[in-house]
């Protein structure tokens, strides 16, 4: 629709750019900090423009960590984060697909009971049950393991609900045609339902990957072995250790490393992700 208010449009663009700058500013600062030497990062005022030491700092962060520490870089932590994120996203998608399929397409006793049980998990984020869950994990001997990091986080209901929604909108005729063609339930599931849910699966993957990668409280609780720390934990560690003279360049480089995978995933799969997000929650 046309409106003869070009001033308003220019104003809008300006405000948007301002908004972008404000949102992006912290990330810019991080990037800048990651490109200077540690010495530079103790002099006021701190720089607003990047320096030339990106790769040095990268090497430091990955391989050496903070000086004065055990000399362990964050490479291992990055790997842990990756494994955890992948296990959570893949695991969650897999069991949610199965559960949604069962609840939507089968009539069986206790169906509604199971449905409500799954529904309850929506209302119990891990922060609310940390101590007892910790106990259970400890009792099962899963502390300091990849399984312990991921399994307790994969059963929540959002993915199941979304797939349920998707399945409900798939036409009945497809199932009927498949039955006439002689397909068993699992064949139907594998050959028809899953391909039709491809976009939702991809979108959900993005959301869950980020969720898994960014987990903090849970890994904090159940890992005590350095080797099992995730990269977001690494940041906090560095900040703690850095009470006297924080080596911001290394810390910020680590922060950058912690940010890059999820940001990349979000930006590159943006359309898919937005679609999945706005459809999951509604």
């Amino acid at each position: 629709m046309i409106e003869n208010r070009p001033l308003l449009t220019i104003f809008s663009h300006l405000m948007l750019i301002l908004g972008v700058v404000m949102i992006a500013f912290p990330i810019w600062i991080t990037f800048v900090a990651a490109t200077h030497t540690d010495i530079r990062m103790t002099q006021i005022p701190l720089p607003l423009l990047p320096g030339g030491h990106f790769f040095e700092n990268l090497d430091l962060a990955l391989n050496k960590g903070l000086s004065g520490q055990s000399g362990q870089g964050v490479t291992r932590m990055l790997w842990n984060s990756l494994v955890m994120a992948m296990m959570i996203s893949v695991g969650k998608i897999a069991i949610s697909l199965l559960s949604a399929f069962a609840v939507v397409y089968f009539r069986f006793p206790f169906r509604m009971f199971f449905f409500w049980m799954i529904f309850i998990t929506l209302m119990l984020p891990v922060e609310v049950r940390i101590l007892p869950t910790y106990e259970v994990v400890a009792n099962l001997g899963m502390l300091d393991t990849y399984w312990g990091l991921s399994i307790p986080l994969i059963a929540s209901a959002t993915a199941t609900f979304m797939f349920r929604q998707v399945f409900l909108t798939i036409p009945d005729e497809l199932l009927e045609a498949a039955r006439i063609d002689g397909a068993s339930p699992m064949r139907f599931f594998w050959d028809i339902l899953i391909p039709m849910s491809r976009t939702n699966i991809a979108a959900l993957f993005v959301i869950l990957f980020i969720y898994g990668w960014n987990q903090y409280l849970w890994p904090l609780l159940i890992t005590s072995d350095n080797d099992m720390y995730t990269v977001v934990m690494g940041i906090k560690q560095m900040l703690e250790a850095a009470e006297q003279a924080p080596e911001w360049n290394v810390i910020m480089m680590t922060a950058l490393l912690a940010m890059i995978p999820p940001v990349c995933v979000v930006v590159f799969m943006q359309t898919l992700f937005v679609k999945g997000l706005t459809e999951t929650e509604k």
Partner: protein, 362 residues
């Protein structure tokens, strides 16, 4: 009530697409002009340019005595009925109709008076006024949309395919109501539709648009009797006009559909177009079953449609490949393969230039 004048109105989009190629029309006070044409012909675009929802690239649009090209929609003193009604879902029917008046700053009593008056005209009950749009049926919502336009008492009414979303029976009923309403209120109206029956019933004049060009502007009867182009001829009238390749003889007195007998041309023939190849048009209702073979052309029937009030016979003339439809009144017991003598009335022949697709005049 005001005149609406469009002078050489053109619309080109930023990507270069030319949507409207120069439209000129002077819509008189109280006139009901219908813009009709197939999807994508530009009729909605033209309407929206009058409303101020699309910009005018070239030319001028005037409402009353003012040129309104640069005016906001709210400043043009118009009201519009949208295809999907565009009723504010969170407001009651009353509030929907009162909204524009509230913005105008009218006192409460007057708003109430106008809304009640419009509700009366449209037969909306007091109770319905308190409901939200989603609680009403399609036809009722349509009335509310019209009510919203009526209370504004504008100079011009604009309608953008308001009946498209209704079922067939309701459409016919609402069509007549709109016609009556406009006639009583006497407000200049511009109405967009793709349905030629709707156009023919409602309009004082019709503007037939095709790919941004005006094919013809005229009264329904003019468009029916003297279509200016092949497009208009085929668009107006249902079932649509029959077309066949033909040739005018050397004297301009007769026209021959390939392989058939010559058909006499009325009105002294077309001496200026002698020996010309033409496209011949004749409406199904102007082909008659002849009583005898003299002067009749034999039609070989292939398919029959029984509509009760009429019978449609589809077939072809002898060797000619052109398929034809004939409409005969009443129930006719005819079988595929029957040969029927058809009389062609010379007064109802339409001739078009095959290249320009325009009507041939003498």
């Amino acid at each position: 009530m005001a005149r609406v004048v469009l002078e050489n109105v053109r619309k080109t989009y930023p990507n270069g697409f030319k949507a409207i190629h120069g439209v000129d029309v002077a819509i008189e006070e109280g006139e009901f002009l219908v813009l009709v044409g197939p999807s994508g012909c530009g009729k909605s675009t033209l309407l929206r340019m009058i409303a101020g929802l699309e910009s005018v690239t070239e030319g001028s649009v005037s409402i009353g005595e003012r040129q309104v090209n640069d005016l906001e929609p709210s400043e043009r003193d118009i009201a519009m009925v949208f295809q999907n009604y565009a009723l504010y879902p969170h407001m009651s029917v009353y509030k929907n109709m009162a909204y524009g008046l509230k913005i105008m700053g009218l006192p409460k009593e007057e708003i109430d008076q106008r809304v009640k008056k419009a509700a009366d005209i449209l037969e909306l009950t007091e109770e319905q006024l308190t409901r939200k749009p989603k609680q009403l049926s399609g036809g009722q919502r349509q009335r509310v949309a019209m009510g919203r336009a009526i209370v504004r008492e504008p100079s011009v009414f604009l309608f953008d395919e308001p009946l498209s979303n209704l079922d067939a029976k309701l459409r016919v009923q609402m069509r007549l109501e709109i016609k009556q309403l406009q006639s009583e209120l006497g407000i200049t109206s511009v109405y967009v539709t793709h349905d030629q029956v709707e156009a023919m019933t409602l309009g004082h004049r019709l503007m037939v648009l095709n790919a941004g060009y005006v094919e013809q502007l005229g009264t329904p009867i003019e468009l029916y009797q003297r279509p200016a182009s092949l497009f208009v001829a085929g668009f107006i009238g249902s079932p649509s006009m029959n077309f066949a390749n033909a040739k005018i003889d050397a004297e301009g007195k007769n026209v021959t559909i390939s392989g058939q007998a010559a058909l006499p041309l009325g009105n002294g023939g077309m001496p200026n177009h002698a020996s010309k190849d033409v496209t011949l048009g004749i409406r199904p209702e102007h082909l008659e079953l002849a009583r005898d073979e003299a002067g009749a052309v034999p039609l070989i029937a292939s398919m029959i449609e029984h509509l009760g009030a009429d019978t449609l016979i589809h077939g072809h003339f002898g060797e000619s490949k052109s398929r034809l439809t004939v409409r005969i009144e009443g129930i006719q017991y005819i079988n595929p393969g029957d040969v029927l003598p058809i009389r062609v009335s010379p007064d109802h022949l339409h001739l078009f230039d095959p290249a320009t697709e325009k009507r041939l005049e003498d």
